[in-house]
Symmetry: C2
Subunit: 191 residues, 2 copies
């Protein structure tokens, strides 16, 4: 836990300056969580009081159609923030599932604590502002890819962006992230 908090402190300080007293105020509001592969961090139909910073491991966030088809919205690993942000921000029940693709550990922060800390510690508000802007930009690039590129190009872009991922997850998950069928992906992924 202490080690995890130290890592988080470094992570935040890559983006904003944080005084020792500010950090001492923030740190106690995080709790530690450990999950095994296949366990769920967030589940559809349940409220989402927390967001999570991944200390280590790998998760996927996905949603399901009525017919049972799954679509992966995001892979998240070390240093990523994850949650069902829609449910979290608007106090709704989750429409997403987030489960672990590997044993993983997290630091957990509640919505109330986040809002309170952002009021009290402006640097933290700026940290989340900048993180959120970058998340927005990344998603916008994803939309652009979905609109202009075919499945094979999107696959090549993905393995270029996250080269380690192919070794860590089955290809059916890559297909689900790319919005393409497992079979189609198999026809052009030659390795």
């Amino acid at each position: 836990m202490d080690e995890a908090l130290q890592k988080l402190k470094n992570h935040i300080q890559e983006t904003v300056k944080l005084s020792e007293s500010e950090w001492d105020f923030i740190a106690p509001h995080f709790s530690f969580k450990r999950l095994k592969k296949h366990q769920f961090l967030v589940q559809e139909g349940i409220d989402v009081p927390n967001e999570f910073w991944i200390v280590n491991g790998l998760v996927r966030s996905y949603f399901m159609e009525e017919n049972g088809k799954e679509h992966i919205l995001q892979f998240a690993m070390e240093n990523y923030w994850v949650s069902d942000f829609n449910a979290y921000q608007n106090h709704e029940i989750s429409t997403l599932n987030i489960d672990c693709l590997e044993d993983s550990t997290f630091l957990v922060m509640s919505f109330e604590d986040r809002e309170m800390m952002c009021e009290r510690v402006p640097a933290l508000a700026n940290f989340f502002r900048i993180k959120s802007t970058k998340g927005f930009i990344a998603l916008q690039k994803r939309v652009m890819g979905l609109m202009k590129d075919n499945a094979e190009t999107r696959y090549n872009d993905l393995i270029e962006k996250l080269p380690g991922l192919t070794q860590r997850v089955p290809k059916k998950y890559l297909a689900s992230y790319l919005g393409v069928s497992r079979e189609t992906l198999s026809r052009f992924s030659n390795d």
Copy 2:
């Protein structure tokens, strides 16, 4: 201009509290801009020192493939913030175009001013943090729609979300936003 600033003040105060002295500090850093239909707010290949708050009017932000095909990323109107946020945030040249679909007016804020004001006025940092989070959530919903819905469903969702838009823009632009050809859209949009 004064009227526009008053509207902006109200807009910000819908999300965060802002003291009079804070507002008096912020307000002078906005400038006013007026464009006619077909004029450009942002152009591909040029740097993007500003973001814009739309006082009134309607713009589209879009990108082009090498072959000249256009894809609309966003329609933005009254109360929306627009820019090429990737270029703006990372000081890169623009890959997007933003042009006016109607005569429009804007309040303009530079990147340096925004960062400076967010440092000095924590409420503003929180304002942009929350706005940015909501933008992220909206984009995530768009990705989900692209992954699970067919073109007709996406069209119906769009006219439900922005019912006025169909009257304000040609259908080819709706098609371009939805990621579908003009002809295909024409076959199921019966009005």
